[in-house]
Symmetry: C2
Subunit: 285 residues, 2 copies
Amino acid sequence: MRFSQDRLSEKQLFESLQIPVPPYRTVDSAQDLRNAADDIGLPLVLKTRRLGYDGKGQAVVREEADLSHALTALGDSNLIAEQWVPFDCEVSAICVRNVRGDVLVYPLIENQHRDGILIISRAPAEANGLAALATRHLRQMLAHFDYVGVLTIEFFVVGDQLLANEFAPRVHNSGHWTIEGARTSQFENHLRAILDLPLGDVSPVGHAAMLNLIGSMPSKTLELGNETTFLHDYGKSPRPGRKLGHITVVASNPADRERTVTRLSEILVASANPTGIADCIDLPR
Amino acid sequence: MRFSQDRLSEKQLFESLQIPVPPYRTVDSAQDLRNAADDIGLPLVLKTRRLGYDGKGQAVVREEADLSHALTALGDSNLIAEQWVPFDCEVSAICVRNVRGDVLVYPLIENQHRDGILIISRAPAEANGLAALATRHLRQMLAHFDYVGVLTIEFFVVGDQLLANEFAPRVHNSGHWTIEGARTSQFENHLRAILDLPLGDVSPVGHAAMLNLIGSMPSKTLELGNETTFLHDYGKSPRPGRKLGHITVVASNPADRERTVTRLSEILVASANPTGIADCIDLPR
């Protein structure tokens, strides 16, 4: 928890485990930020070291003029400045280890974020060729902590490189598709792991996508579940930017999955729903 | 409920819907039973009309001498006598219909009982060639009741015939494998149905088997779950003949499934567990 809740400790941990990270600098003053901009270049992302999630506690610095705004927004100490990595895509890697030390790794998941919030995950990711590399990184972290349970690392994919963004010592939003899309869900495997039960098969049962429902539940809720889609309503009160539910699609091939994702997105956009979905999906206009 | 709780009404319902049933006679006296034995032959099964489940309220009459014992055990009225059908196997057919009238049918399930209690179910059944016939019978019943939710009919398979044994207006023990073995479980589809949501895909995701845990939970509980097996513990107090949990196996082919079923059965028998499992599986001695 200590490492995952402090972005500096987290990055130092990744580095100590030979897991590559984007270039970054610590920032505790306006001068630090100016030096960071010179060293790692613009654009950069300024982040609070602690208490950041879902895009909170972050500011993008695209040009010189943004530097002071960012400091005003976030305070001027206990920050880190990260290079804005020109990534091909973002993926997460989810693994599970039980008390007796068995390890299983789910297929890589491709994630699309808007304003720091996860909008869509797809699995297995097209970048699944990097799965062996991701598994190596996961195993380094599992071994370091003698970890038991589900653990997630988010990476930027840059060519054939994986740069670690952050990790979560828990089940992860990007793994919710495993409820219907994998033989054993991340939730069941977390319980099996901590109870020292044998782990369950992590193979996918198809090509899955998960769409987060953010801010408000769509008006046509009933139409969002069908033969290949699974609606989850968390029963939370609506609030801008809040994750209120998700829909999982399980299809037999990527093309069918994309057709369903597009159809769902059209319904979501039509019901004036979720933050960002229109930016993530190329809808016919 | 009224029809499924009274074996005579149930059989009359099947007949009115052109769903074949084994030959039977009503029995309200010793003379009725003697006439039934003459008409439908021995062996026969004598059953109470009401309140029978898991083999309770039944007696097998194999020879003349059993006739009076059976009446002593069950009382001498409100009974029915059924022909002991020389069936090839027993199957159940589970379907679901939502408020708007969409219907989906799970693959046929092959069931093995001992002493009237379900021990093992396997799906898809080898007898799945009879699925179209089963679906026709299910649709007749759904239409008759304008039914909404999950509905199950149990059949005897005799050659290419299906003889209805009983039906259940609900999710069914023989459908528990759908939790991990089908795209959408019978439980989720029941909820979708009564909420008038679109139904979820009922396709199997592999070759599944479900083993009931009866009477006592096995001592080596931890070893009963693994990559392809899923342990369910209902948290009930042990009692002879009581269903306390089940294990679902999901394999990619029937041979792998049978290997796992055999391994599990060996563990169950070794831990002096469940009623009947040794009779249902050919274990190496």
